[in-house]
Symmetry: C2
Subunit: 268 residues, 2 copies
């Protein structure tokens, strides 16, 4: 009977700049026999503690200015009673509200930026854990993302090492012998979400362990390569939602004005 | 140590029209002591078997025609070597490729439509299970959905009963005493994804059980109400991605032409 178990590593306290997350995780896993790590386990680490360990907590008088600095491209924006929410593509290629700039669970007057390169952070963490443990585990680094069309946020993988992020079933056959056409499962995002169910948001539970999918965990240098969570970011050429509907509509309107030799409208 | 367990119910064979899913699920759960259901369990049921039980498998010469019939509104379309992929809003308000019309795991010449009202299907299944079991469980009905901006698909909840689909943390305080502003967790989608990790796509494992989140499971008529998975569908007024970028651009272009008294362009 196929079973997975997901549990939080107990007793991880506030992370400070320079903290050695390999030791933090191994100490937590050693604190109780139930939490001892095993080969094939996948460690699911909230990006917040990676950012804190990497010194990405910065003083910020103005969160909006920080968001602007982290933004590569504005996808959509929405005015509401509390201000403007900007959905942007950040330096990692990830489309997220507020560019992933976080001011929850940080001291007042500071914000937390995402790790500079979460895949690199995951690789370092994964290598360090494997060296100390003497067996293979996988590492995912997660953030909380909103979605188009669906309310609520889910956790998703923004960094990965030693673990498949996409499971490609295209070309395999279904139970009726028909080829599966469009099934490319974003397992890393499903694992991130599963871990969020035990970690939660307000509690001090930044690391969860998913046990039971050892086939997704690979030794270093395995065939197929370790593409990291970057592989989950849809390439621009395949992205049908590069711009919000209102933003794209305005661009089309302006283009028609240019083509007709008319002045372009000034939007508010 | 907070832990969840997710396992598949063993031995569920092909579902035929009129099948009693309450009995199918209870028989599978009774087939091995490890699978026995407990209070607070959440049953995660692939919509495919609900559709089959409800007779939604239909003969279809032309899958494209079926997609058109299930479509309320085209959101975006994309031409590729294999034809055109249409991302549409279906009758349930859900934005999905091909309107959720499925021709995998169905006999050749047939397609499987989504349940007419998956929340109603979930309510009936949940009530039937509770009556026979004598305790409260939750039911989610799931489908596989693509996402904007991210490659790969994840499972999501399209029907729900007896279980929270959104966990609202807005207004609660984080570890630093600051109010959490934007945290509304789509727990039902995270649970659907977690279940997909054990169910997979090609195997005959259409039902999984998630154990360990009994706080999300509520008795009938509880305060707050049972809003179903419909609550996960973002209302149009809050949807910034009602149209694909190209489609919105064309609408803007055409609007400018109308405003200028010029003929509207004819798109290919």
């Amino acid at each position: 009977m196929r079973t997975i178990t997901v549990f939080v590593l107990p007793g991880i306290s506030e992370i400070t700049p320079g903290a050695d997350l390999v030791s933090v995780i191994l100490d937590a896993a050693a604190s109780t026999p139930d939490a001892a790590l095993r080969p094939g386990d996948i460690l699911v680490v909230t990006s917040k503690i990676v950012s804190k360990a990497e010194g990405r907590q910065v003083a910020a008088e103005d969160r909006e200015q920080c968001i602007t600095e982290e933004t590569v491209r504005v996808v959509a924006s929405k005015v509401h009673s509390g201000g403007v929410t900007r959905i942007v593509e950040n330096k990692l290629g990830i489309v997220a509200a507020a560019a992933g700039v976080d001011n929850s669970n940080t001291p007042a007057g500071t914000v937390l930026l995402l790790p500079v390169d979460p895949d690199a952070s995951a690789r370092a963490l994964c290598a360090g854990l494997r060296r100390k443990l003497g067996f293979d585990v996988g590492v995912l680094i997660t953030d909380t993302l909103g979605r188009a069309w669906r309310d609520g946020q889910t956790d998703a993988a923004i960094g990965a090492a030693g673990v498949d992020v996409l499971l490609d079933l295209r070309g395999t056959s279904d139970a009726f012998g028909q080829e599966m056409k469009a099934t490319l499962t974003a397992v890393a995002d499903e694992i991130a979400g599963a871990a969020d169910l035990v970690k939660g948001k307000t509690s001090q539970c930044p690391v969860a362990v998913l046990r039971g999918l050892p086939d997704l965990v690979h030794p270093e240098g395995y065939f197929g390569g370790d593409r990291g969570a970057r592989a989950l970011v849809r390439p621009p050429a395949h992205d049908l939602f590069r711009l919000g509907s209102a933003e794209a509509w305005r661009e089309g309107y302006a283009a028609a004005c240019r083509d007709a030799g008319l002045p372009e409208p000034l939007w508010d």
